[in-house]
Symmetry: C2
Subunit: 134 residues, 2 copies
């Protein structure tokens, strides 16, 4: 009776999900959903674009981000950056000059997160390209 690699991976998956269930269940009972409020909240289109651009250019001003990210409005950029800052993903540095200068960059956590997510994205793209071929 051998355990195959597939079975090993299934067991791993269950273990990881169980861990997640155990730690999020108390939150759910208090009306807070980490799946929605932490993960899904940060992985919307504009957040991802902001993270990728900051990851690539390291430091960008508000206007530079706005110019680089095609289609984003001042409002959505402002809303998104505030959210990312609140989640500890983006660092905001305000130079009190006139006209104003504000520089955005990723925090160490933001960098790690961005790297994980872009790797995930690339991996998904690999798969969807495979699918397209067949």
């Amino acid at each position: 009776m051998k355990i195959t690699n597939t079975e090993k991976q299934d067991i791993k998956l269950k273990k990881n999900i169980k861990k997640y269930f155990l730690r999020t269940q108390p939150c759910l009972e208090r009306g807070f959903c980490p799946t929605k409020d932490l993960l899904a909240d940060v992985l919307d289109k504009w957040s991802l674009f902001c993270m990728y651009h900051l990851g690539y250019y390291e430091t960008l001003r508000f206007g530079e981000l706005k110019n680089n990210i095609e289609g984003i409005s001042s409002r959505m950029l402002s809303v998104t950056l505030k959210k990312l800052e609140a989640h500890g993903i983006v660092h905001r540095e305000n130079f009190t000059e006139i006209p104003p200068r504000v520089e955005y960059s990723l925090t160490p956590f933001g960098k790690e997160l961005s790297n994980k997510i872009v790797n995930l994205s690339n991996w998904i793209l690999d798969f969807s390209e495979e699918i397209h071929k067949s």
Copy 2:
């Protein structure tokens, strides 16, 4: 002139983002946004719950999923499962019986994806718990 670990990680991050930019830019020009249509589309609240429950229980019928996932409606479950099936994440098996029996499970890709995402989720939770302490 030494290169620190942090700098190494920054370089890695840039490389990965560049790769992603290069391959998604042609899509963007054709009006298709992989960031939104592949990643963000699959990482909403109900999709994640479906993936986690299927990852944990392996095979579940429609009604079992509905009972297990608190708060989901027939409609949202139906919509979500169809989407996940279209993305190659979920496998649907229809036993043509009366009353109907339909069993859902994760595809191999769905399992790998679920594992990556739940690891990411756990990692984010670790960080946000750290934040809370300080």
